[in-house]
């Protein structure tokens, strides 16, 4: 009986089998890219889904295809091409608010520090005209006096004749340097009488801000929560700048009928520099920085969703900003909570390459 094929053939067959075995082992080795391709091409691997999820995880760290897959799972295709959607659920959950573009007023303010000073225009120094001794003291520190009222009775040293110290103006005695029997020289300060029904708010202004200030601007003076705010107007702008502090002086005369503004009080003055009305003003919360541009999320024409719109910003105050370009009157935009749209927009970017 003869062998049906030669030994040569048998050897070849064995060789082929063995090769086959190598290939199998090689192919089955950690060959996950094969899998990626594979799994991308058949998305209908139902029983494989659990596994896909995990692959997605790996992918999300490093490349984006896992993420795409994920979007597919959600039945949510490439949203970056269409308008951004906001479901009512989201709007409720995250307090998203909308507004319609329209005019508004931007008010510019400047905060200055300073202190309350006596109104020097309404203060008087009382000095004895002759050197002498105080015989009787009629009025003392804190007393209210009328113009011409006798403050103290003096006696001159030279002639020993009595004379009176009288109040030159009506006001309050704010300083008092005289004691019974004290000998004073002519020209010594004995009383300072001030009319504190008005005081000066002296505010220091950094040199840079000086050009913006004009006499007549409104000033609101506060001295902490405990004090009521006082309103006044800039009445004086100092002609020189302090060499030490490089600040100028701005003064407002304030009504002090309630007597709360005592000289020496540390105050903050807010100067209103002006109020400008613009055709399009939006709250600052509506503007988002994206890639070094300012973006407002505006509803598209069909009301189907929102699109990011690059806008140009004009002047702004603490809460609002003037939009000079990019937003037209009557357009509906997201005024609060646009962050979620921004995040959705950038989702593609932050999904990958993110390490912990």
């Amino acid at each position: 009986m003869t062998f049906p094929f030669s030994f040569q053939t048998l050897r070849r067959v064995i060789l082929a089998f063995t090769l086959c075995a190598y290939v199998a082992v090689l192919r089955a080795e950690p060959d996950d890219h094969e899998h990626h391709d594979d799994h991308a091409s058949h998305d209908d691997h139902d029983d494989d889904d659990r596994h896909d999820d995990h692959e997605d995880d790996h992918d999300d760290h490093d490349n984006d295809d896992g993420h795409d897959d994920h979007a597919d799972h959600d039945g949510h295709d490439d949203h970056e091409d269409g308008p951004l959607q906001l479901s009512t659920e989201i709007v409720g959950d995250f307090g998203i608010e909308f507004a319609v573009a329209g005019p508004g007023t931007i008010s510019q303010e400047l905060r200055l520090l300073g202190e309350i000073q006596m109104n020097s225009n309404k203060a008087a120094h009382v000095s004895p005209r002759f050197a002498g001794v105080a015989k009787t003291i009629a009025r003392r520190l804190g007393d209210e006096v009328k113009a011409g009222e006798v403050l103290a009775l003096m006696e001159t040293n030279d002639t020993l004749r009595p004379y009176e110290l009288t109040a030159p103006i009506a006001g309050t005695i704010v300083e008092f340097h005289l004691a019974q029997g004290e000998s004073v020289d002519a020209g010594d300060y004995t009383y300072i009488i001030a009319d504190t029904s008005t005081v000066w708010a002296d505010l220091r202004v950094p040199q840079r801000q000086l050009p913006r200030l004009k006499v007549g601007l409104d000033v609101y003076i506060t001295a902490g929560e405990e004090f009521p705010a006082h309103a006044g107007k800039i009445s004086y702008i100092g002609p020189v700048i302090d060499e030490q502090t490089r600040t100028g002086l701005v003064r407002a005369e304030l009504d002090n009928s309630d007597g709360l503004l005592r000289p020496g009080l540390f105050i903050v003055g807010n100067v209103s520099l002006g109020r400008d009305t613009h055709s399009i003003v939006v709250p600052l919360s509506a503007v988002h920085p994206i890639d070094n541009a300012s973006v407002v999320f505006v509803e598209d024409d069909h009301g189907e969703g929102f699109e990011p719109r690059i806008v140009q910003l004009g002047e702004q105050d603490l809460t609002q900003v003037h939009i000079t370009d990019g937003l037209s009157h009557g357009e509906r935009y997201v005024s609060v909570g646009g962050f979620f749209l921004k995040a959705e927009l950038q989702k593609e970017d932050f999904g990958d390459g993110h390490a912990h």
């Binding site: 062998f3 049906p4 094929f5 030994f7 050897r11 089998f17 063995t18 086959c20 075995a21 199998a24 090689l26 089955a28 080795e29 950690p30 060959d31 996950d32 890219h33 094969e34 391709d37 594979d38 799994h39 029983d47 494989d48 596994h51 999820d53 995990h54 997605d56 995880d57 790996h58 999300d60 760290h61 490349n63 984006d64 295809d65 994920h70 959600d74 951004l84 989201i90 520090l113 950094p206 302090d242 030490q244 502090t245 490089r246 600040t247 540390f266 903050v268 920085p289 962050f339 979620f340 749209l341 921004k342 995040a343 959705e344 989702k347 932050f350 999904g351 990958d352 390459g353 912990h356």
Partner: protein, 1030 residues
Amino acid sequence: MKRFVEFALHSRLMVVTLAVLLMAAGFWSYRQLPVDAFPDVSPNLVQVFTVTEGLAPEEIEKYVTYPVETAMNGLPGVENIRSVSNFGLSVVNVYFEDGMDIYFCRQLVGERLSEAREAIPGGFGEPEMGPISTGMGLILFYYLEDTTGQHSLTELRSIQDWIIKFNLQNVPGVTEVLGIGGYEKQFHTVVDPLALERYGFTVSDVIERIEDNNLNVGAQFIERNNEEYVVRSVGLATSVEDIRSILMGAEDGVPITVGDVAEVREGEAIRRGLQTKNGVSEVVSGQVIKLFGTNASTVIQAVEDKIITINESLPEGVQIVPYYEQKTLVAAAVGTVTSALAQGIGLVALILVIFMGGLRPTVVVAAALPFSVLMATLGMKYFGISANLMSLGGLAIAIGMLVDGAIVVVENVDRHLRGSDQSESKLAVVTRACGEVARPVGFAVAIVILVFLPLFTLTGVEGKTFRPLAHAIALAMGGALIYALMVCPALAYFLMKRPSAAKSRSNEGSRLVRWLQAPYRPLVSIMVRQRWIAVVGSAVLLGIGGWVFPRLGTEFTPELNEGTVVVKLKMAPSISIGTSKQMTQAIERRILAVPEVTKVVTRIGRGEVGAHADPINAAELYLIMTPPGDWREPFDQEAMVEEIREAIGTPPGVIVNYTQPIEMSVDELLEGVQAELAVKLFGEDLDLLLVKANEIAAVLGEVEGARDVQVDQVTGSPQLLIRIDRAAAARYNLNVGDIQRVVQAGIGGVTAGEVFEGIRRYEILVRYPEAYRNTAASIRETLIRAPAGALVSLDEVATVEEIVGPRQITRERSQRFVAIQCNVTGRDIGGFVAEAETVIKDQVELPAGYLTFWGGSYKLQQEANKRFAIVIPITLLLILLMIYAALDSFRNSLLILLNIPLAMVGGVVALWLSGENLSVPATVGFIALFGIALGNGLVLITYTNQLVKEGVEVGKASIEAACRRLRPVLMTAITTGLGLLPLLLANGTGSEVQKPLATVVTGGLISSTLLTLLVLPALYKGVREDHGTA
């Protein structure tokens, strides 16, 4: 080989005693073995964390990360250094070569850390090493439940930090307990900048004053009446009132205190993470981290016991509630395998009884199982391999194979005892019988061990996953080898009886065997006569295999099902912590709509540094569900994830992923090695890097086969950049430092010492009130006092810009980089890389100091392939050599190699039929299969050769040998197959890895047994006839 047998039988009593001792040692080792759920695949790394509150990524990188990295350069065994500079946190990962001792690595890093500390400017944080643990170290998470509702989050956090943490850290095997959630208590000194102005102080004065008025000192002792009195002076601030009354200065005798310029109160520390529960509340929580190398299950048990004790000491109504425990997983994984192991042993024993037809030989064979398994555990203990899904799985797989050697030996002894002359001593018969098969059995078992050789060369994650399995199998097979050659003959001598003469002739084996032999003998005779049937048959089988093979799906390792679902959220990098919480809680509420989910506990960002470096835009939601048994029918984990996916929907700006706890933490440590193909562009300037990376991406996209080209987004965090105008500062005679100090303390806050309440210590934070620092406008107006007394607002001396900065800076090999990721389809990656490299060189101009580096998983894969290309042929050559050594015939050896493709056919078809993919475990199955198939062939051919040598005609010898060896061949095949059956049918945790393996082996066994029994005898004759007798 024979000599082993002779020696064993000679000193049979000693051998048996030694075997019992070894088994006892094995059992002891088994009790000592650390038990884990899965093999630990974490890379060998030491993490260095540095917290610098309030610093932007750029500064962290410059001041902290760079010095640490530089210090770590040049350490022995360092494979790579990767760093992430985040807002307020620097993490440097120092990757060491696998296999280096972790304590040695830590010591190396520790030594260099002192260098790094010196290089980091004062006040920029202290670099510290992470816990001595791995990705598998997070064994238990808990939160504090306050049923009374009386305790604030700050109080609960204090309980966590000062009661629970300390107690749990004392549990042996716990290396760290990290707190997160709630608020850390702080003493806030909220300085009113206007009040400072009023009195002419600066914020630095306040800090200095507080620091100077808060200390205890010792002043040695005095002697009085022969006694020593220790002198101490106590001046520590212990309360808000103490801080308030610290003197700032006096004006005209009027003291001005801290209370005059600042509001002092107990407050909450700034936090970079929090923990929420069920979408409604915040909770305080902790994570228990296990020490490297300790036994997970014992540590968890000890922690649980301790928790019970601690719970008793906690304030009324406050309880520790664990919400994630690795224990369940460990138990499940080990349970899956051990039950498979037990069932396997039972089934194998059953088969033995049926085939051997007697209890005594069965006992001798079955004793191989405990012996080999215990030998394996002894070895595992010695080599430091933990008992886990893979190593125990290896044992489960090996069950059937372990008895193979013993079966052949016992079967032969049995046959010889029956056929022997009564005059021959029992010892001589047993010696002859054992000696006859010693050689083929020895070689067969050795081959099985040998085929696992390539597995040991696997590296990385696959290596760490499958090496324990290979180790366990090799060790167990080693045990089986010893058993078959030494213990088995001795035991056989003691236990097996010579049947009575009358019975012995007529009865060879059990009735079943005779029943099987009846149809087999004519069948094999036909095959031997009509060889073409055998040839055509195997060709057809091969054809089927060839047809099926390309139709198999391929995948990497199937995912291990941990039984806990974690939903991972990634939100915009710039998100605020409040919004992050709001978003997470909204999603938590949605998930709770799934009826099976009873609780959702979420960690946002990071707590105490050590385990996570997540920024606040990352959230991990742990879902606590009802037991799977109570789920709606028909419902499994996949369906559950689908359900959760639907419930979550598409929240805006959130990327949702589904993962599992261990998988997640291991992924975090492995980060960066998983991309298929990545071009890393290294360089200095982030902006330039980005520009060039985009250019490269554009070029890369043009190369044929490129898909999903993507540049890493490295920017995206809005910043308020305060740039000091030096000229302006000089005009006011201000130092940059003067300005910076106000910015740092006023806007950011500065710690000015600590308040001690017993051993609890709380920081004193000095900061401006919120209104003075919460908008760009108010920051611009921050006041700075110039030396001359001038009050300057910040924008007088600095520009304040809003820019978009890097969200974090990642570095590798001490350089910044931007990665360009890409997938390749339809062509070979090597070729793609070569082409892309030249194209990029031609078209993208890179400035000096900028260079590209190709990386990604393809690299590892190429390395693996290269290694396999060497190792597999070597292995096959070794096997061939062994077979050759056993048979002394090259042709016969080749004939046995024929087993490989035929065995493969069965495996491939089985995979295809069961819908499994060709994965790493399946490959491992093929490897095991080859070993078994070769072994079977070897046993048969050896016996045939023996008969031929005895002068039997070749054709007759083939038939006779086949018939005689039918019993052992069938038995080994069936025991192996049945040993795997429980794994094949298992559904528990970890079964997804074992299943493909078992499928391949079972399928392959069928085809290879057919081959061994039908084709080999046929071809044997052909080989002999054509080329004469050997």
